[in-house]
Amino acid sequence: MEDPKKTAGEIFEAEAENIEAVTPVNEPKAEAEAISAESGTAEEEIVSFAGEGDLEDNVKVISPIRLVMKRFFRSKLSVAGLVMLIVLFLFAFLGPLFSPYGETQATGDFKWVQSVVEHKITVEEDGEFVTYTFYEVSDAYKVYSKTPPSSKHWLGTDQYGYDVFTRLMYGGRVSLLLGFIVVFAEMLLGTMIGAFSGYFGKWVDQVIMRIVDIFNCLPSLPILMLASSMLETWGVPAESKIYALMGILTIFGWSGTARLVRGQILSLREQEFMLAAEATGISTARKVFKHLIPNVLPLLIVQATLGLGSVILYESTLSYLGLGVPFPYAAWGTMIGATSGAAGRDILENYPNLWVPAGICIILAVLAFNFVGDGLRDAFDPKAKR
């Protein structure tokens, strides 16, 4: 017995030549000699046209990715969604560079104000009560007023004198970035757990799916509110609150993805190519990461895009309730949140420029993500006929 590594190659080399002679599939030129006896009936010379044009190869192919792109761009709605997204992104991430104002830079109309506090002190002097009045005059400070849109501040300023238009950009940054990070984390966690559950099945699957069930039946909004107020009582600083928010949103979001991936893997596992992988002795890790996950990927991309919309909605809701991104940082939800509370009524009725733009941004972002998600779903589905 020789070294098998060497023989393997040699066998095939020899064989490749052999096969060519026997089955002229590869190089049909060899066929000219192999004329069957029957053709003798024709007086004419036999000519071979084999291999010159290759009709089986005349079709040019389109790579799968380009095919998906093509189908995606065929739908007007998904293109509209994509354009909206690009505009929103540019607005949020590049916009602030061109804005003369900062996120927490008060630049609105103001008045210099000095507060005067009257103190009356009654002192007993010689049996009489004498009242002295003191006036405590503070240093002059600025008080900003809400202003309607003007050429200087396109969307006016809020009660702190911050430029609303600039804050809208910064708010977009927070909302979009938070959405992306949360969805990415959700997908990662969900895919891992779902794949694990779907591939190993049996009791592993049972346990994981029951956990998913539990997560699915928890009312997320009350729990989010609870968590948020707990953060407050623990004295978590405002800047790190946003990270906590991401974590909480992820923990409540992965279960849907896990269920989706698990279902997909259950059906993929029964496909013949998985059986073929088993039959060729591929290791488990490779089977999961090379054969299963890539086939789930299109579905995940769709799920992620649609998920982005809902994460942005969640974030806005929480911010509106005052549990999300804290002041002075801007977020779209926080900006709408200004309409609540004691001062809110005035803003709601008289200053729509403070909250309507943020609302429109939220609607646009969610719509755009949904359009793109739907477009991607159709584009990835080879059976979709359009």
Binding site: E15, A16, V61, E272, F273, G281
Partner: protein
């Protein structure tokens, strides 16, 4: 034989001496039941008897054809003896080794020796891997060639299977059924197997491509000294490629023998009916058909006695109650039918 196998052999206890030798594969009383219904306590109440007591031996370098209709358990049998499904009962010897109770990791080492080609070339290739990856993946895994030579090796294998080298970076969806089946064959052959289970490899292909694939399989067999188990419902294809043929009906082997014997002198009424049902491409031969009544019974609830008695023209009383034994009636020609029981014939005569 490569080193992997040697290791495996060293690990396992040497089996009885009667196994191995000229036989590459021996199957003894193989059974595979699938649970169908469970009671509330989780105890299985109803089983599908997919494979029921099948035994055969396969000589090194020869081809065993398995024919039967859909639902007769031929595919299940092929997958069970490769241990892609768990074996319910019975024994499988590969090269004289009892592999029935091999663990997963033991099997993984043995896999390159035992390959399989599936019926559907569309679902048996992962749609998101290139042709080169598909063929080279397991070669890499089992370290059949060094990592830096893998591309050359795969291209060589591809050429030997009639695939062009530039297909290496293309995806399966760009190919026709015939080309895909060649990819499947290349994937199997690249591992230097000794035995390939061909599970209906040409059923999904066009006639002209079928012939190409059959010739390719035959050539590969000659060059590598491969053994095949060739599962098909197409009798003409099985006849062309096999040395021996086994006929299956409802999970059991009803007849087995050398190819010529089976096709020239079939004994079992089912084999006869099957042979006569094949349409012949000759308009003059409007031959006398034996047209079987009814459908194949459900394998979850097989008929008592001889499983074929519900559709058999020669059904006798005994067939309904006693299941016939698989007995050698000619040289290497086994059949399970009461028609050939001498005693039974005598009884029938007396009664008649």
């Amino acid at each position: 034989m490569n080193e992997n196998l040697k290791n495996v052999q060293a690990e396992t206890v040497q089996s009885e001496e009667s196994h191995g030798g000229e036989y590459i594969l021996e199957v003894e009383h193989l059974k595979k039941y699938f649970p169908l219904k469970k009671s509330l306590t989780g105890k299985v109440q109803v089983y599908v008897h997919a494979v029921e007591d099948v035994s055969f031996k396969l000589k090194r370098g020869s081809v065993l054809g398995i024919v039967g209709e859909s639902g007769c358990g031929k595919t299940t049998m092929g997958r069970t003896l490769l241990k892609l499904y768990d074996i319910t009962d019975g024994k499988v010897y590969f090269n004289g080794e009892d592999i029935t109770h091999y663990s997963k990791s033991q099997m993984r080492k043995l896999r390159p020796q035992l390959q399989v080609i599936f019926q559907d070339p569309y679902s048996s290739l992962s749609p998101r891997m290139t042709v080169g990856e598909i063929i080279g993946e397991a070669v890499l895994q089992h370290k059949i060639v060094p990592k830096n030579e893998i591309r050359d090796y795969v291209v060589k294998v591809m050429e030997s299977c009639g695939l062009r080298p530039y297909y290496y970076n293309r995806y399966p969806h760009e190919f026709s059924g015939g080309q895909r089946q060649r990819i499947c064959i290349a994937r199997a052959v690249a591992l230097n197997p000794q035995l390939i289970v061909c599970d209906e490899p040409v059923s999904a292909l066009d006639v002209s491509v079928q012939a190409q694939i059959i010739n390719l399989l035959k050539n590969l067999q000659e060059q590598h000294g491969l053994s095949y188990i060739f599962i098909s419902h197409d009798l003409s294809v099985v006849k062309h490629i096999s040395n021996e043929v086994g006929v299956m009906y409802l999970g059991s082997m009803v007849e087995k023998g050398p190819t010529d014997k089976i096709f020239d002198e079939p004994l079992h009424p089912y084999t006869k009916a099957l042979l006569s049902a094949v349409p012949v491409p000759d308009p003059r031969s409007k031959m006398n058909r034996i047209i079987l009544k009814g459908d194949i019974p459900s394998p979850a609830n097989p008929p008592s006695g001889c499983k074929f008695h519900t559709r058999c023209d020669h059904c006798m009383e005994i067939c309904k109650t006693v299941s016939p034994e698989f007995i050698e009636r000619g040289e290497g020609h086994f059949v399970a039918c009461h028609l050939y029981d001498e005693e039974q014939k005598d009884i029938e005569k007396e009664q008649g």
